[in-house]
Symmetry: C2
Subunit: 256 residues, 2 copies
């Protein structure tokens, strides 16, 4: 008899976040689950790894009947520890999330949720990051969990090519208000940052990073456009960052 698929679950909002509890529920029908997730919030950690500090791994009883661990490091550390120290075989699927907040467009670069999925892709393991467009810690994850099951099932059935993963974003709202899924490209946008400058009780300045998300892309094939129209966006994602179209031009430069 064949083994059930082994599914590794992680996130960046920490093991106690509401989003990951819905991802655990969403994966239960699909296979055997192991959770390895950060022990504290790691939003905005991008593809960070922990080099200068030792890592701790602790057994957790966060999810009844599910083998779970907390990791003292980043989401990418969690994936690495899971693959090389925790699991006794390679997982068939890595799912990350469900993130509290959007990882559409350029947000993918800053996202711990998506970096965990990209690390899976680097390891040639089918991987998906899920994010809900709602930062609220009590957000309603029902519709997001529904799509997490559906999309993960398709990945288990169809596979995805080595070196790729999926970036899935789900609009806020009840399931019946969502229009379905759209396969998209990553939209062009950036954060026009501003810093909230304050003075501490000792007279020293400090800054909080804030900003306005600024969309530069009018295309109707982007994740931003799909989400705007209440579709779940699915962006197939890879990690070759070469600007291939510039190789010819740069060869004309005077670099002798």
């Amino acid at each position: 008899m064949e083994n059930k698929p082994l599914i590794l679950i992680t996130n960046d909002d920490s093991i106690t976040a509401k989003g990951i509890s819905y991802l655990v529920k969403a994966m239960k029908p699909l296979g055997e689950i192991v959770v390895v997730a950060p022990d504290r919030p790691q939003s905005g950690m991008g593809h960070a790894i922990t080099i200068h500090d030792p890592l701790r791994l602790k057994k957790s009883d966060q999810f009844e009947g599910i083998e779970s661990y907390t990791c003292s490091g980043t989401p990418v550390d969690s994936v690495k520890l899971a693959i090389y120290e925790v699991l006794n075989r390679r997982p068939d699927l890595i799912v990350s999330g469900i993130n509290h907040g959007s990882n559409a467009a350029t947000n993918i670069l800053y996202s711990g949720t998506m970096s965990a999925a990209i690390e899976g892709a680097i390891e040639s393991i089918p991987s998906i990051g899920f994010s809900l467009l709602d930062f609220d810690k009590d957000a309603d994850f029902e519709a997001a969990a529904h799509y997490a099951t559906k999309i993960s099932e398709q990945v288990l059935i169809n596979g995805i090519p080595k070196g790729t993963c999926l970036n899935v974003n789900i609009p806020k709202g009840k399931l019946e208000t969502l229009k379905g899924t759209k396969i998209c490209r990553q939209g062009k946008a950036f954060w026009e940052d501003s810093f909230d400058k304050r003075t501490d009780p000792f007279g020293n300045e400090y800054f909080w990073l804030t900003g306005n998300f600024t969309i530069l892309d009018k295309g109707d094939d982007t994740d931003l456009a799909a989400l705007e129209k209440n579709y779940v966006s699915i962006v197939p994602t890879q990690f070759d960052m070469t600007a291939h179209h510039l190789i010819g031009e740069l060869n004309e430069w005077d670099l002798k």
Copy 2:
């Protein structure tokens, strides 16, 4: 009379690293310099930003006659603070490094040095990350600094298209042993991780992340191949992570 180009310098090894002092020397002939760099080592921080903590910015006298600041956050935080709080005009060029160690191939994803350059690209500012293939803190940066000047000069002359930056890696060795530059694509490789598992004095386990860099790419047009032959590798870099070639295939999936 035209202003001299304004050049922002940052890194991920912290303002006291030997590599950044050589980058400051390398940029002196090219324009007006401002340094904003992390106050402690931030290797492996990827594209991390600081959301849950306030940021501190301090005037530094690290480089005589050069306006310099330390930032309590990551390399990407340093770039954001520089653009939005420190500089009184947009920089003409952002240079990051010179990193102690390679950022070729997949290492770009984990690299704080390159994330600073990519953040520049997101901000539509010409940006370059420089890395020397020598982790030693006393490494010889003479040849790397020579190429940093040469390549930065070409970027100031030719510009680079919005949304792109350069990932430059320099082999270890004296200038006369290097064969010149090669424009390359990002090589395929991954870290086959292993963890050095230890027990602390209190009987608790902890892990150090280690690993073997494993090359999956036999192409002679990669940064890895160029470096192997003692060329300086230049990879034009962009941040659209869409796997465009998969959009058609995913549209066939049963996601209704």
